[in-house]
Amino acid sequence: MSPIDVDATVIANRRLSRDYNVLTLAAPEVGARTIAGQFVMVRPAEMTETLLRRPFSVFEIIRDPAGRPTAISILNKRAGRTTNRLYETESGERIACLGPLGRPYTAVPGPAEAWMVAGGVGLAPFATLAEALASTRIPTTLFYGARSDRELFHLEFFERLGVTLVLTTEDGSRGERGRVTAPLDRALVGRSPGSIMVYACGPEPMLAAVSGIAARHRQPCEVSVERTMGCGLGGCYSCVIKVRHDAQPHFVRSCIAGPVFDGAAIVWD
């Protein structure tokens, strides 16, 4: 659906940790159009030091009892100027929010199960995806890795939807110690090819690993990549990633051909 731009009022800013917060934006129209995996380009509406918008996955689509979207939220992790500013943002401030943008996750016919693999802030697209999957009633698992216990968020939300959780932390403070790819790899052993749809979002090294694992186990895999984006609409060619097209690898714009890609098609650097 065609994107719109709203000067969305900040309804709430829940700080989850020293680095993470959830910003709720009064942008129901954007929520109504969004499909899991799509993103928005945001920027503070008033005078600001930074120029370009920044891409953020739509985290939650908040709905009223009748199921009508009333707002969206983004899961923000501090990485620099804009994300720091969004961490400090107060309710009432206005944030310019352009979206929905990009190619969403797709429900591939066939698979008996859906496995979501999230690394850190890569959790963002999976709240809405889990909701979509819940309605299809196909068994869903979330493999979720973070630096520590304190950075594993929103677990009750996924439990409520009946999502099976497999957690890992780098410091071992919760779940298995180490990378999320380890339990994923083990769990795929012996599963019949094409029976599990793997959805991944997180740091690119992790996405590369997940794609490799899924390929080895012959399971379909979609990954959401993060490239620096200037426009989010296909105008600037800044966000490219190498993807195999017929034989030849080509740079494609991840803002319109992605951010979700067939993991097997990407040429990881």
Partner: protein
């Protein structure tokens, strides 16, 4: 009172002076859903060579104070695929299509132009002799008066379409290049392309973009760009397409007063893809407030008489 925003670029008649800047609007069709392509004065598409180009490896952009540096490396589908896949749709949408023509040799500029001329339905040829981001060709011609004349003269012979060389700001005397372009038969000149720039990631001591060097655009460069447009306007008679950091109607009027007949918007379209309708409304409002009937009356209407030292 209805205001007339139309302008004449030589033989071209544009309903308004706003043109999407090359490389900042894809091939135009990407923006169908957010902008009515026919409502723009023109759409200048991404630079095209004879063949497809992959461009530089990412990262290709980095933000800087009130601007951005880019080194895309002219990734593009090549003129043949453009004519086949994009041009017909752009014409259907009623867009006035400006094509940013690139080349590594004078022959390539000529060849690409011929293909576009034969295809029909192209409004004008913008000669990109000013891209700072490719090794051979481009700015090599744009930084030499001889090279500029040679490219313009050769392309001039090859087409009946308006030929609009795009000038680089990375020179000592930009007006002399406008003069060379006019003398070589250009119908107009457009300026500025980006300023050669770089930004270092001090934490890694590495470049912020793969190409190390890139082109600076955005509001940061506007005061230099306005100066250059003014210098060219005093040097040549052919119309000028001004650009560099335009974000709103005020900025557009500033370039027009300095001598621009039309303006292009690039970086600002990234920040707000709805900028077009906003700037058009702002131009109408400006004409109303100043009781000017035709926007064309403002072209070069800058009055250098010093202002008062006192504000109030």
């Amino acid at each position: 009172m209805p205001r007339d925003l139309s302008v004449r670029l030589g033989s071209l008649h544009l309903p308004n002076p706003l043109i999407a800047a090359s490389g900042c609007f894809g091939y135009g069709l990407e923006y169908e859903e957010v902008a009515d392509l026919a409502s723009l004065g023109g759409v200048c598409v991404k630079g095209l060579f004879m063949t497809e180009r992959e461009g530089h490896s990412p990262p290709r952009i980095v933000e800087t104070p009130a601007g951005m540096i880019n080194a895309i490396g002219l990734q593009g589908i090549g003129v043949h695929r453009f004519v086949k896949e994009k041009l017909p749709l752009l014409r259907e949408r009623g867009a006035r299509v400006f094509v940013n023509v690139c080349g590594t040799t004078i022959d390539e500029y000529v060849e690409v132009t011929k293909v576009l001329t034969d295809a029909g339905g192209v409004a004008a040829i913008e000669l990109n002799i000013s891209c700072p981001n490719i090794k051979e060709g481009g700015i090599q011609f744009g930084c030499s008066l001889v090279g500029t004349s040679a490219v313009v003269a050769a392309v001039r012979k090859a087409t009946h379409l308006p030929v609009i060389p795009k000038l680089t700001p990375n020179v000592t005397d930009v007006a002399s290049f406008a003069r060379a372009a006019e003398d070589a038969g250009a119908d107009a000149v457009s300026l500025v392309n980006t300023f050669l720039a770089m930004a270092i990631d001090v934490e890694t001591r590495r470049p912020t973009i793969t190409n190390v060097l890139g082109g600076l655009s955005g509001p940061a460069i506007r005061p230099i760009a306005v100066r250059m447009v003014w210098e060219c306007a005093r040097e040549v008679k052919i119309p000028i397409i001004g650009m560099g950091g335009i974000t709103d109607a005020r900025d557009a009027v500033e370039f027009i007063l300095a001598g621009a007949t039309a303006v292009q918007i690039g970086t600002a379209n990234f920040v707000d893809p709805f900028v077009w309708t906003k700037v058009l409304a702002g131009l109408e409002d400006y004409l109303d407030r100043h009781n000017v009937e035709c926007l064309a009356e403002l072209i070069g209407a800058f009055d250098p008489t010093p202002p008062k030292a006192v504000h109030a």
